[in-house]
Amino acid sequence: MHKDITTSRATVDKRAVLQQLYDFLPVSAVLHEAEDTRPYECDGLSAYRQLPWIVVLPETVDQVQRVLSFCHSQHLPVVARGAGTGLSAGALPHEEGILLSLARFNKIIDIDTDNRCATVQPGVRNLAISEAAAPYGLFYAPDPSSQIACTIGGNVAENSGGVHCLKYGLTTHNLLQLKIITLEGEALTIGSPGLDAPGYDLLALMTGSEGLLGVIVEVTVKLLPRPEHTQVILAAYDNVESAGTAVAAVIAAGLIPAGLEMMDNPAIRAAEAYAHASYPTDAAAILLCELDGTAAEVDSQSVQIQELFKQSGAVDVRVAEDEAQRQRFWAGRKAAFPAVGRLSPDYYCMDGTIPRKRLAEVLKQIGELSAEYGLPVANVFHAGDGNLHPLILYDANKPGELERTEEFGGRILELCVAVGGTITGEHGVGVEKIDQMCVQFNATELAQFHRIKAAFDNEGLLNPGKAIPTLHRCAEFGAMHVHHGKLSHPELDRF
């Protein structure tokens, strides 16, 4: 359904394109030599690399409009990029396209304390919003682990989560308004400074659309009052099932903690060796439960949760006695990824979501797959909302090991779908999980996605090759699976 952009572009002369870009961009805002464009060749998923053809770094909305309408008129692919911290290669450059960096859009435009919202440019870092709101006792709730570096534009494009989204929601729950530029270079305001807008909920459609529908140039986010008091409880279990039961017991008791994290034994041992968080290294699983609110609320919930943890078979329950210990409990969890990274030359972070009740069964099957592929796995789990991050340990220098890792990862994601979950909880599809989209959605659903895309970008120039696979690609992916002799889920539609 999309025009074949490869052939239409083959005749485009890079020098001629540069000349035309210089008509509306300063020389310093256009990079085209390999040494300058190299830093943009990948995002946080560095297994995928592609040197960009041309990088542009506009500073004004007008320049973004002109870049996009230029790309539109020249049929050039364009990939928008924030800080490049994404984990699904969603910002992977196009070999013959423009990489549009929004890094220079780094201003906080307004903090409105009366309506508790902040209007910022897309290149503003996630944490910088909370820092700017802090003097007013407010904060921006979604806190992806990369929040010190990742930018709000990328957060919107990926619908980023974080450890506190069970209580505070994802990016999509914390937005009021976007200003976007369409491929034609037209400015659109989506949402409103109020709580809703007339017409379709395009704010929902744009959020998590991975740069396929438009380029975000301004974001208005909700701010919340910073909780007065925070408490963390750590519980250790000698089997994963009991830890899973404990999580269900907390929810059944009517409690919604601010965060509820689980780590399995390999993740615990790695984190402890790295961060010295005083985790019990012999535990099969630990839970970290964060409560926030007024001191009175937190204290009463804390007592209740400690009791529930004990009843569900915890072998050890500890409450952080002070802020330093609270930070230490979290330090281990927050360092889990780099800690696992020390155990192995490389690791690959997966991101599926499952119904929580299937946790024990899914971990068991991941263990079996781990044995089958001969690749160790450590599991970190946003237990409250079912978002599982298996970390596969591998060595990219061993021939074929990355490919085996990717195949193993793909099998994990298909397992998530088979138990009623999803292939991505918060990292997005990007290039990484594009084949698994063929498992999650059938041909009619994918065709519907393509028609949505065409309503915004008829030629398929915005971030081509990401997020939504072509039906052709899915057909090939299906064939590949049969070739391996294991059709993972025969009950699912194949085409």
Binding site: R116, G137, T294, G425, Q448
Partner: protein, 353 residues
Amino acid sequence: MSSDIGQQLCEQVHDASKTGTPLSIRGGQSKRFFANEVNAIPLDVSGHYGITGYEPTELVITARAGTLLADIKSSLENSGQMLAFEPPSFGADATLGGTIATGLSGPRRPFNGAARDFVLGVRCINGNGESLRFGGEVIKNVAGYDVARLMTGALGTLGVITEVSLKVLPKPRYETTLIFEFDLADSFQRIPRWLEKPMPVSALCFDQQRLWLRLSGTEEGVKSAIKRLGGENATDASQFWHDLNEQKLDFFAKSEPLWRISVPANSRLPEFDKQAFLDWGGAQRWLHSERPAPEIQDRVSEVGGHATLFRGVSGQHGVFQPLPAEMLALHKRLKQAFDPRGVLNPGRMYAGI
């Protein structure tokens, strides 16, 4: 109790698309008064009902679109849970499908989220008669475009919703409503100062005489907020919030057209504010007025808001704030993407979509 007529509904839409026959999607007809009228052959979804999955500890309920909202609420109630967007019913026949298709939310909305915030997945039939599933039954899911939320509030113009999965929340253990004898100016000053503090506020409205503030949460949390706020304890408060949500308060008993005004909460609209009922801490205002639509809508858009003729005369058209030309064009392209023959509730939201 359950009944699955999904296949039959698909065939009906498919047949309509072949002949280009417009359909008017119906559930319990409790919100027939809302939005523009559609004169078309009825597509009755009310026979497609039943809760197909509810696991309290997963915080998710899935039900077919024709399931009565009252049945969903009572199932949740039995497990100590609730729909946290507090949807209004506007009648005992209200269905889940209509609740999501209209996307309306109650007094709790500014504090807990709107209908769209709790939608995790939908099954729907597009204008070609194809059954599609988007989203799912898990809380975190970013695979594909968020069509489930796009369907919320789309008034059936993009697809016939046949099944919905919603995130549910535990009912608060303790609830108190406080009343303050404030005037409009006092209210505008106090509200933002209160809401910037971490207190378990779950509803906040001004009825021109008094400010009503509901606190929901743990007993300790609510009591410590009461200490900070003062005010008087309201008796029979749950009836008050229910009547506000269902528009049964005396305020709503006027015959003039009822406008819904959605604005940033602290916006001042002196032309309207003295006659309005301010809900959602000021972000949703109800106004009875005979003024012409452009007069109200132009004024409201100056502060970044929009106005909807919520209850007018029967056979009404043009009830929603007009969209800018480029936005309407995008809406038309999206309509085309889902319903190329224009058979699903044409004109219910805007002419041409």
